[in-house]
Symmetry: C2
C-alpha cells in the first residue's frame, strides 16, 4: 500500500556502503562534483523552510543528462534515495535532504537551449532562473508569465516541481498552464519526453501530473515553456480601505464584473507599514488594507477597465485611490508588494509564511478567524495575499530563540490551514506540501484519494527512491495523526523527529 | 508490462457465465435497466465512428452512484471488462463495446445537481448534455465555455473523457481548463473525489490526468464545471481569401498581434460551398478559403480589436470582408460553420472526419500536402478547422458501398495524421484516440512513454477491465505495426479484426 516507506528502508548503509557509494558516484562525474565533506554539504542542509535541516550523505552536481542518468541508475541499483534540488528557494521543505540519501542538485543546468519566437516557446535547462527566461526573450517582445516572489532566484525546474504561481497567475495561470513539455529522467535512469508543442496531446496527461509533483516522480532535465507577448499596456491602481472587509468586497465586485486583472493583491495594515518602511512605495500607511490591481492588454481596453475598477473601488469605500501616472510609478507600487516578505523579515526575528487557499467570497470571514487565532496564540500575523485567487499568505511572526515559540508558530499555522480546508479551500496554493504540510494532507484528503496518490507514485517509482517521505503522507501517519488530532482537539505541530 | 491485454483475457465466458452475469446485473439494478436482447443492444453497437460496430454482452443503465458501484464491484470480481458510454457522439470509437463485456451507459445521469452562481460553478451528472449546462445557468448571465460541434447532443461526461474542445477553446481552453472536480467510481467500485474548488490542489493532479483518459481510468459520476460570465459584447468578422495560403498568413498575423480571438475558424472552398448550400449563411462561395474571427469582451476592447483584425485581413489580401451588423447576423455566420460537417454529409455518401494538430505556422504547407495526398488516393478532402489552434479537421469523402473505398479513406487518414506528427503536431486535437488511432499512437510515442502510460493505467485499473484495447496501444501492437510500416513504406489502414 505504501511503497515509499517500505522500500526506502532497504538502504541501511554502514560506513563501507557509504564509501562505496561515494566512489561509484565519483565514477559517474567529476570528483569536484561529488560533495561529501560536511562543510561542503552545509549549504544544502535545508531549503527556504530553514527550520528543518539535515545533511545528506552526498551532494552531486551533474552537468549533463547522461550524468543524471548514470546517477539514477546507480541509485536504483543500490536502492539509494535521491532528493532533487533546484535553487533551494522552496518554502515547504521539499528539497530537505535525507541523512543517508543523495542530494541531486540541478544547479549546473543553466543553459537556455532554444528560443522559438515565432511559435513562442523556449526550451531551457531546469536550473535556469525564472527571471532569466523573460530576460532571454525580451528582445522578441516576449516573456514567461508565472512570476513567484522569488523569481530572481528560483529555478524553472523547481517552479515545475511546485507548480509555482505568482502575482500574475490570476490572469495567466500557474506553471502548469505555461509549460508545453518536459524532459524527465525516471527513477530507473530512463529519459522520458512528456507533453509537446501542440495544444492537446493524446495519451494520459503526464505533463500536468508531473507539474507540482514535488520531485516524487522523476528528475526534470529540460523544460519547454510557453512565451507570451508583452502586454501593449499595463496600468496599476492602488486603493486604501478603512477595513479588510471593504477591501474583500471590492475584490469580489471586480471579478463579478467579468474583469480579470493581471494581478489583484491585498496587504493588511501591518504588511503595508512594513513594506512602506522598507521600500517607500508610497503606500497609505493608515489604511486597514490596501489593494493593488493591475490591468493589462490593449490600451483602449485597459483604459476602459481602469475606469470601471476605479468606480468599484470608490463604491466599496476606498479612501485612498491612486493610478500610476507612469511606468516608474507602476514599478514602484509593485516593488512594495514584491518586497513584502523581506520587509516583514525586518520587523520580526523570524516569520513563518503560510500558504492556503479559500473560496474568494470567504476572505473577510477567514481573515477574522485568523486574527482571532493569532490572539489566542499571542503571535502577530501579517497578511499578504493573492486576493483574486483566494490564495492567502499569512506570515506568523515569532522569535525562534524564545523557548517554544517555533512550536507555537507551527501549531498556529496548522490551525490556519485547517480553517482554509473547513471553508472549502486547500492547504497550499503554490508552495507545495513538502515536509511541512504532511499532517494537513491527512485533513485535506480521505483515504481512497491518498491510496490513489501512492498508486500513481508507484507507477513512476516502484521502489520509492525519489524524495521519499515528502508531499503525500503514509496512511499510517494519517491514522496516527487523526487519532492525535481528535484526542487533543487541535492540530499538533509537526514533530521534527517524525519525517 | 501490459496488464490490459493480459488480464482482459481472463474473462472467457461460456453461455452459463453469460447467464450468471446477466442475473447478477439484474440484482444490481431494475430489470429493464439491463439490456441483453440483440434488438435492445443494437443502438449501442457503435458511437459516432460508425464504421466499427459490435454488440456487447449487456448494456446497463444505472440511475444512481450506488448502482454504478455495485456494477463495478461485480465486474471486478468476475473480471468482466466494462466500457462506459455517454451520449455516443465520440468520433474515435472510444465507446465501441466489447463482445463479452458490459456497456455501462450514463444516459440516466441527467440531473444538474447544484449551481453556485456566486462562485461560478455547477455540479452536474455525467449524462447532462453540454448545451444544457449553459441553458441551466443562463439566468445568472453565465455559461460553460467549451462548445464541441456536437454540443446539443454530447454529454459532459464524454467531454471530460475526451478532453473536448470546440470553436471557442482558442481563448477559453479545452475541457481540462474548464472543470474543477470529478466524482469517480474506480475499477473496484470505490468512490474517488478528485480536484476541488480551489485554483490549485495539493497532491498529484489526478483531475488533469483523468481528463482525456478515454474511459480507461474510472467511471465519471459527477462533474463540477467552471462557469464564465457571458461576454458583454461579441463581434464576428467573415473574410474570403483568394488562396488558402493568404488565409493562413492572416491567422498567424492576428495571433502575432497578441489578439486572442474567441474563435478563429477556416474553411476551404469545398466546405464553404457545402455549408452555404445547406445553411445560406451568406458565405462567399468563390473564395478559396474563408476565415471566421470572433472577438469578445468589453465593447471598447472588442471594437478596438475588430478594427485591428479588419486591417490585418485586408493587408493579407481578403477580397471579401464583412462584420456582422447585429446578433442575428453573427449567429447566422456561425451557423454555417457549426453545420459544416452535416453539410458535407449532404454532398458525399460517406465522409471520414480526421482530427490532427500542427504548429499554426505550417498551415499552408500541410494543406498543400493533404491536397497532394488526396490526389494520390483519388478521394476528395474537404477542410474545416480550428485555425487558431492549428487543429485540422480534414473530411475525407468516400462511398462505403464502393469496394475498397473505406480502406482507402482510412489509409489516406493515417497518412494525413503522419504528416501532422512529422510537422511537430499530434494525431488528435480533440476527438481522442479510441480504437481509431491506435496505430498512429505508435508513430507519435516512443516505447518509454507508452510503457509509462501502461504503468499509469495499472495504477488505476490493475486488472485492465476499463475500456480495454482503447487509447493506448500495446507495445506488441506497435512492434508489429512498426515492422509493417517500415516494410510497406506507408501506413496500412487499421485492420478491423485487430481490436
Amino acid at each position: 500500500m505504501n511503497p515509499v516507506a517500505n522500500n526506502s528502508r532497504s538502504w541501511q548503509p554502514d560506513d563501507t556502503d557509504r564509501e562505496d557509494l561515494l566512489r561509484e558516484l565519483r565514477r559517474c562525474l567529476a570528483a569536484d562534483s561529488v560533495l561529501s565533506d560536511p562543510e561542503a554539504l552545509a549549504p544544502y542542509e535545508c531549503d527556504g523552510l530553514s527550520v528543518y535541516r539535515r545533511l545528506p550523505l552526498a551532494v552531486v552536481l551533474p552537468e549533463t543528462v547522461e550524468q543524471v542518468q548514470a546517477i539514477m541508475r546507480l541509485c536504483a541499483r543500490l536502492k539509494v534515495p535521491v532528493v532533487a534540488r533546484g535553487a533551494g528557494t522552496g518554502l515547504s521543505g521539499g528539497a530537505l535532504p535525507l541523512a543517508d540519501g543523495v542530494l541531486l542538485s540541478l544547479a549546473k543546468f543553466t543553459r537556455v537551449l532554444e528560443i522559438n519566437p515565432l511559435e513562442r516557446w523556449a526550451r531551457v535547462e531546469p536550473g535556469v532562473r525564472n527571471i532569466v527566461i523573460s530576460e532571454s526573450v525580451a528582445e522578441h517582445g516576449l516573456y514567461y508569465a508565472p512570476d513567484p516572489s522569488s523569481q530572481i532566484a528560483c529555478s524553472i525546474g523547481g517552479n515545475v516541481a511546485e507548480n509555482s504561481g505568482g502575482v500574475h497567475c490570476l490572469k495567466y495561470g500557474l506553471t502548469v498552464h505555461n509549460i508545453l513539455a518536459l524532459g524527465i529522467i525516471t527513477a530507473e535512469g530512463e529519459y522520458l519526453r512528456i507533453g509537446g508543442l501542440a495544444p492537446n496531446n493524446p495519451g494520459y496527461d503526464l505533463l500536468a501530473l508531473f507539474t507540482g509533483s514535488e520531485g516524487m516522480l522523476g528528475i526534470i532535465v529540460d523544460v519547454t515553456v510557453k512565451l507570451l507577448p508583452k502586454p501593449e499596456y499595463a496600468q496599476v491602481l492602488l486603493a486604501g480601505f478603512p477595513s479588510l472587509g471593504a477591501a474583500g468586497t471590492a475584490v469580489g465586485r471586480i471579478i463579478a464584473e467579468g474583469i480579470i486583472p493581471a494581478g489583484l493583491e491585498m496587504m493588511d495594515n501591518a504588511a503595508t507599514r512594513a513594506a512602506e518602511d522598507f521600500i517607500h512605495a508610497g503606500y497609505p500607511v493608515d489604511a486597514a488594507a490596501i489593494l493593488l490591481c493591475e490591468l493589462d492588454g490593449v490600451e483602449a481596453e485597459v483604459t476602459a477597465q481602469t475606469d470601471k475598477v476605479r468606480g468599484i473601488l470608490e463604491g466599496c469605500g476606498a479612501d485612498h485611490l491612486q493610478t500610476a501616472i507612469d511606468e516608474a510609478e507602476r514599478m514602484r507600487l509593485w516593488a512594495g508588494r514584491k518586497a513584502a516578505f523581506p520587509a516583514v523579515g525586518r520587523i520580526s526575528p523570524d516569520y513563518y509564511c503560510m500558504d492556503g487557499t479559500i473560496p474568494r467570497r470567504h476572505l473577510a470571514v477567514v481573515l477574522e478567524k485568523i486574527s482571532r487565532l493569532a490572539e489566542e496564540y499571542s503571535l502577530p500575523v501579517v497578511n499578504v495575499f493573492h486576493a483574486g485567487d483566494g490564495n492567502l499568505h499569512p506570515l506568523i511572526l515569532f522569535d525562534a530563540n524564545r523557548e517554544g515559540e517555533l512550536a507555537q508558530a507551527e501549531a498556529l499555522g496548522g490551525q490556519i490551514l485547517e480553517v482554509c480546508v473547513e471553508m472549502g479551500g486547500t492547504i497550499t496554493g503554490e508552495h507545495g506540501v513538502g515536509i511541512e504540510k504532511l499532517n494537513q494532507m491527512c485533513v485535506q484528503f480521505p483515504e481512497p484519494e491518498l491510496r490513489q496518490f501512492h498508486a500513481v507514485k508507484a507507477a513512476f517509482d516502484a521502489d520509492g527512491l525519489l524524495n521519499p517521505g515528502k508531499a503525500v503522507p503514509t496512511l499510517h501517519r494519517c491514522a496516527e495523526f487523526g487519532a492525535m488530532h481528535i484526542h487533543h482537539g487541535k492540530l499538533p505541530f509537526p514533530e521534527l523527529e517524525r519525517f
